[in-house]
C-alpha cells in the first residue's frame, strides 16, 4: 500500500505526507482539477448469467481468444510519434473544445470500465464475466492514455468521486446491448474516419493523439463484435417489437452525435473536417456495420433525414439560449420543436434487409 494522507493518524502527519506528494508532483499544483463523475448502474444479472453462447461458439471463441491475446498491449504508450504540442499557441476556443473532447472521452472510457467491471463482478457465467473483464481492461487502458494527454494540457483528473454519495440506477440488459453496441460501432466509425482523413491531410493533425486512433478504434470494434454476438445469442432481441427499439436507438444515437458535433465548430475546423460530410460518412459506415445484426438501417439519404437533423439542432440551440435567459415560453416552444423533429426522424421508413448467417466482421475501413 502506498503512503497516503488518508493513512495518517494525525492531521500533522497527513499534511506532511501531502506535502511530500505535492512536491513530488510540483507540476500538478497549478493544474486545473477535473472531478470524474462516472454513473453507476445495475442490471438484471440473472439474465446475463443465463446467456448461452454454445450455439454461436464458432464465432464466440475466436473473438475471445483474440481479446485474450491482447494484440494492442503496449500500443498505448507514448513514443517518438508523440510530438510536442504547442498548448500556449493553440487558439483558445480550439483548446476549450479539444479539452472537452479529452475529458468527455476519458469519462466515457472510465464509466465503461466501471460498468463492465460491475457486470464481471456480479455475474457467475464464466464466459460472460471473462468478456466483461477483458473489455474493462481495454477501457481502463484507454482512460489512462487520455488522462496522460490531459496532464500534458494541465488538466488533472480527480478520482475522488468514490467518497461522494452515489445512486445506482437500473437498465434492462437489452437496452445496454443496443446502446453499447451502437456506441462502440459508431465510435469505431468516428475514429477511423478522422484517422483516414488525417492520413491524407497530415497538416491538420494538431495533436499527436490522433495517430493512436486506429488501434484505439480497433478495440471499440472488437467490443462491438462482442455485443453483436450477445444479441445473436438470443434471436428475440432483434425481432418483433424490439425492431422498434433498435430503430429508436439508431435514431437517438445518430441524432445526438449530429447535435454534439455541430456544437464543436473549432475542433472540426482545425481538423479540416466538414461536420455535415463527417456525419454522413460516419452514419454510412455505422449503418453498413450494424447490418451484421440489426434487420433494419435508417434511410439516411431520405431528404427528410438531413432536414430533420437541422431542425433538431436548431431547436436544441434555441432551447439552451432560452434556458440561459430564463424565457419559459421560448423553452417550451423549443422543446416542442425538438420533440417534433425527433418524431419526424423516427417516422422515416427504415430500410429492411436480411441479416447474414455469419455475424463476425473485421475492421476494414
Amino acid at each position: 500500500m502506498n503512503m497516503h494522507s488518508a493513512d495518517a493518524t494525525t492531521a500533522e502527519e497527513a499534511l506532511a505526507i501531502q506535502e511530500t506528494i505535492d512536491s513530488d508532483m510540483a507540476t500538478e499544483i497549478a493544474m486545473q482539477d477535473t472531478l470524474l463523475t462516472p454513473r453507476f448502474y445495475t442490471t438484471d444479472f440473472d439474465e446475463l448469467d443465463a446467456i448461452d453462447v454454445s450455439h454461436i461458439r464458432d464465432e464466440w471463441d475466436p473473438l475471445i481468444d483474440r481479446m485474450v491475446s491482447d494484440p494492442n498491449k503496449g500500443h498505448f504508450k507514448k513514443n517518438a510519434d508523440w510530438d510536442e504540442v504547442d498548448w500556449d499557441g493553440m487558439d483558445p476556443q480550439l483548446k476549450k473544445e479539444f479539452i472537452d473532447f479529452l475529458i468527455s472521452s476519458c469519462t466515457a472510457e472510465f464509466s465503461g470500465c466501471v460498468l463492465y467491471k460491475e457486470m464481471k463482478r456480479r455475474g457467475s457465467n464464466e464466459e460472460i464475466t471473462q468478456l466483461f473483464q477483458l473489455m474493462a481492461r481495454d477501457e481502463a487502458r484507454h482512460a489512462g492514455f487520455i488522462n496522460d494527454a490531459l496532464r500534458e494540457a494541465g488538466v488533472a483528473v480527480n478520482l475522488g468521486f468514490l467518497t461522494q454519495k452515489k445512486k445506482y440506477t437500473y437498465f434492462r440488459p437489452k437496452f445496454i446491448y443496443y446502446a453499447t453496441y451502437l456506441s462502440e460501432k459508431i465510435g469505431y466509425a468516428r475514429y477511423i474516419t478522422i484517422f483516414r482523413h488525417l492520413e491524407q491531410n497530415p497538416q491538420y493533425r494538431f495533436h499527436p493523439i490522433f495517430k493512436w486512433f486506429e488501434e484505439w478504434c480497433n478495440d471499440e470494434f472488437a467490443h462491438g463484435e462482442a455485443f453483436a454476438l450477445l444479441m445473436k445469442s438470443d434471436p428475440k432481441l432483434t425481432r418483433g417489437v424490439n425492431v422498434l427499439w433498435i430503430k429508436f436507438f439508431l435514431t437517438a444515437v445518430y441524432a445526438t452525435m449530429y447535435i454534439r458535433d455541430h456544437q464543436r465548430p473549432a475542433f472540426h475546423e482545425a481538423l479540416g473536417v466538414d461536420t455535415d460530410w463527417y456525419a454522413h460518412e460516419v452514419f454510412t459506415k455505422t449503418s453498413k456495420l450494424s447490418e451484421q445484426i440489426f434487420p433494419i438501417t435508417l434511410d439516411i439519404d431520405n431528404p427528410r433525414w438531413e432536414a430533420g437533423l437541422k431542425r433538431l439542432q436548431k431547436a436544441n440551440v434555441d432551447l439552451a439560449d432560452a434556458k440561459k435567459q430564463g424565457r419559459k415560453v421560448a423553452q417550451l416552444g423549443a422543446s416542442i420543436r425538438a420533440g417534433l423533429a425527433f418524431v419526424s426522424l423516427f417516422t422515416i421508413p427504415s430500410k429492411k434487409h436480411a441479416v447474414p448467417a455469419k455475424t463476425r466482421l473485421e475492421p476494414a475501413y
Binding site: S5, M25, S105, V114, G144, I186, V253
Partner: protein
C-alpha cells in the same frame, strides 16, 4: 428494507484506485459480499482517496449503503431505462457552447 422506508447498512469495503498510465480505474468491493440493488445509494466513508499519478492506492474503508425502499426500487427499475442513452459515448459534453 421497508415498503416506504429506507434502511442503512454499514459494510467494510476495499477501494482500489489506479492512476497509472497503463490503467485509470477506481473500484469498490464490499468485503462481506453485500449486493447493490436499483435505487440504493453508496458512500465510502472517510476523506477523499487520491492516488498520485503513476500509483495504485488500495485502502480498507467503511461504506454506508442506503437501501432503497421497495417502492423506490420498483420506481428505479421502471424508469431507469429512460437514462440509458448515458451509456453512449459522443466524444463531447452536452454543453451547447463552451
Amino acid at each position: 428494507m421497508g415498503f416506504f422506508t429506507r434502511t442503512k447498512e454499514h459494510t467494510p469495503c476495499t477501494v482500489e484506485i489506479s492512476h497509472k498510465f497503463e490503467s485509470l480505474h477506481a473500484h469498490v468491493r464490499f468485503n462481506n459480499g453485500a449486493v447493490i440493488h436499483p435505487g440504493d445509494e453508496v458512500q465510502v466513508q472517510g476523506p477523499e482517496i487520491m492516488a498520485p499519478f503513476g500509483e495504485i492506492v488500495t485502502e480498507e474503508r467503511d461504506a454506508i449503503i442506503l437501501r432503497a425502499s421497495t417502492i423506490e426500487r420498483l420506481w428505479t427499475k421502471a424508469t431507469g431505462d429512460l437514462e440509458v442513452m448515458e451509456l453512449c459515448e459522443f466524444s463531447f459534453s452536452e454543453e451547447v457552447t463552451l
